[in-house]
Symmetry: C2
Subunit: 133 residues, 2 copies
DNA sequence: TGAGGTAGGCACCTTCAGGTAACTACTTCC
DNA sequence: GGAAGTAGTTACCTGAAGGTGCCTACCTCA
């Protein structure tokens, strides 16, 4: 029948919306940026190329698993390059591509916003918390 | 003793870094933006004020729980205002503040980047997947 | 000779964010 | 009179992300 319960309609809408979101480039990029480690790796590499172990030291606290996973994802998206030098202890260098560099600039814009407006957000929070004591 | 195993040093570094990240305004903002529903609510409200039920319809698929949670967080950070009109079915309007508007503009910058570079990212992915077949 | 570095891979395990369902209290529409 | 809307709240539950530990294989330094 043509009639659906509200729950059924919501379910249908949810499925459609999920598909829409997965196809949306903005959403996909946000998924990338939102990754805790992606932003840190981008920031670390923005000063120049780095080796795997340099990264793991600079980004203290990252597990080898997540570092590898993050780097692979960035490499797949063409944001970093991975260069293997087959010397005796193998040496692997990671470097931002031009595309990766432009994304890092975007991150800088976010950073700038955060720094200039942080006081306002902080003040709003204190006020809100005080009012809803 | 002054000597620590590598694992202990990693653990220590992780704890320190976590504290550092929680204090970092950029990271806090990224946590906000990275929230799936926050970005959608911001986008929805950028066209003008909306009622609770309008939002839940426009952002199809959001559960009432998450919508409330998201709106409360945004209100707390001073990014949206919540106005209750005590008419007979109570009416609640949500609207972006000036601060929220500036954040929405930042989101627009992200959107623009995503749209202009999506093809490059997509091409890089296809190439990567082809090479690592 | 064994401890640590270099660049990860693999499998298990836990946690918690977010979804689901049910409820409020009052109203209007069919 | 019951179904649906308005604006949520509360309790419960699951799935997937991410952390931990253990492994390779070769090298160097003390």
């Amino acid at each position: 029948m043509a009639t659906m319960t509200a729950a059924q309609k919501r379910e249908q809408a949810r499925t459609d919306y999920d598909a829409f979101l997965r196809a949306c480039p903005t959403n996909q990029l946000l998924d990338r940026l939102s990754d805790k480690w992606v932003s840190l790796v981008l920031a670390a590499l923005s000063t120049g190329p780095m080796r795997y172990s340099d990264l793991s030291r600079k980004i203290a606290g990252v597990s080898p698993k997540m570092l590898t996973q993050t780097l692979r994802a960035l490499e797949r998206d063409g944001l970093v390059t991975r260069t293997v030098t087959p010397s005796v202890p193998v040496r692997v260098d990671y470097e931002l591509t031009e595309l990766g560099g432009s994304l890092a600039q975007l991150m800088t814009a976010v950073k700038t916003w955060a720094e200039t407006h942080f006081d306002e957000v902080h003040a709003a929070r204190e006020q809100y918390d005080a009012e809803n004591a």
